[in-house]
Symmetry: D2
Subunit: 149 residues, 4 copies
């Protein structure tokens, strides 16, 4: 058996994700939860665009932040919450495509501070294109009433 801090990390991530109403609003789905790696997918939607008709950089960041945050969350104990301290996003190509994939991966686990990196891809019929990268710094929080789950 594993030595995961919380063997039910997948269930915990899925329950927390379901509480993120912003994910429903942007049409994002949790498509993969592994220890240290989480994937989210989202179809293109007109109501999420910027002025040129591409996915808004902030919406890309919203999905990447959730992917990175939940990647970190998989490595935390059952009674912990995850908070994003900061993140940086590089926008590499326009958010143009029918569907988008956002993968967050833990680069550096830790008791208090966790660093995760994310990548966003525009997915076409035959290939996917890297459109953005994120580095996020996360904090494990315990014993705060306002940040549970």
């Amino acid at each position: 058996m594993t030595n995961y801090p919380d063997p039910d990390f997948e269930g915990r991530v899925r329950r927390s994700f379901a509480l993120q109403k912003a994910m429903t609003t942007v049409g994002a789905e949790l498509t993969s939860v592994a220890y240290g790696t989480v994937e989210i997918e989202m179809p293109f939607a007109e109501q999420l665009t910027q002025q040129h008709g591409f996915l808004h950089a902030g919406i890309i960041s919203t999905a990447l932040d959730s992917a990175c945050g939940y990647a970190g969350f998989t490595t935390m104990p059952a009674d912990a919450s995850v908070l994003t301290i900061e993140f940086k996003v590089n926008l590499l190509a326009p958010g143009r495509g029918e569907r988008f994939l956002f993968r967050g991966e833990v680069t550096k686990p830790g008791r208090t501070i966790i660093v995760a990196d994310g990548r966003a891809y525009a997915m076409g019929e035959s290939e996917s294109k890297l459109i953005a990268t994120m580095t996020a710094t996360l904090m494990t929080v315990r014993g705060r009433d306002d940040v549970k789950e």
Copy 2:
């Protein structure tokens, strides 16, 4: 008279903002456009929350990115478009409040590269609280068919 690269910068920002469907989706309004400084406001909305019921960090970033991007856009010539190359956000306090203000300000104008800094505030009855800061690097784009306005 002024020497603004585009004396109609306010009209240009307002027309472009109106095209950002993501702004409508998150309920954001353009409340102030000055040369080098743009403000956006947004009421709290349940559908924009993360798992603890606060405004999702990505939604905060969405509004800050637009505020910073349009702050930079005010300094550009009439035929230019603005692209966000990258941004970094620090989340300083939970996105808790009835209403939020996002201010973007140009820190360093430039012909090609512009740097803008943004601040997000949760606004209460008597005081406002700084909840996030952003530094965004913007690029002036000309002559690209896919990024007009």
Copy 3:
């Protein structure tokens, strides 16, 4: 009397700074220590340049990191140490000048996480020019044997 967590914050910063051998190597001096704000100055030196003869961006970051870190350190209790979790630097203009000033200021104090912003200026005879900005995320550390002072 003040309510500073450590009334001797200036002495504590000065003693710690004196231990940073990198500061001696780059010729940096601590020129101002106030609660929440620290300034460092450095003359231009050929041995700190990049390929175009300007101050290397990493050296600018070295001084800004110390300025931001010590700005945060002024707000910490006497038995705490400061660690930099991450920082971002925007290089706004070439590191050209006879002398440089680096100012770090606490944007958001905190028990565990502190955010500080820094600005680097090239100083000439009559004016100073903003050449770089930094946002740094700092952590208050206690009870770790390897990070004292």
Copy 4:
């Protein structure tokens, strides 16, 4: 034969690196130059330390910035110069070790804007430890007299 924008990219990187006096000052050597990837190594040195006796975060950034910058430089045409627009560093572990390796890799090539990611490792006898990551945004510059090589 290759289609590299400059087939002599290695020679060009090596000549430019030799001009970076900051690299000599910190004791850094260029140990590997491949298309899109550059490695720099540096022994630990007391004069580069912060207050706890570890390699200063700014010195780590100095070497990472050069590694990322030259990784980008390998992809540029022969008459271009490279400028760092901005970078972000996450410090994952103390800069403790006898020797350090800094690897920069191009994540997104581009005509004007290039994004590179870097990793810093403390190297021991039997293993290496990831101590820092960087994301750097670079710009290709042409026709500016002050930034040649």
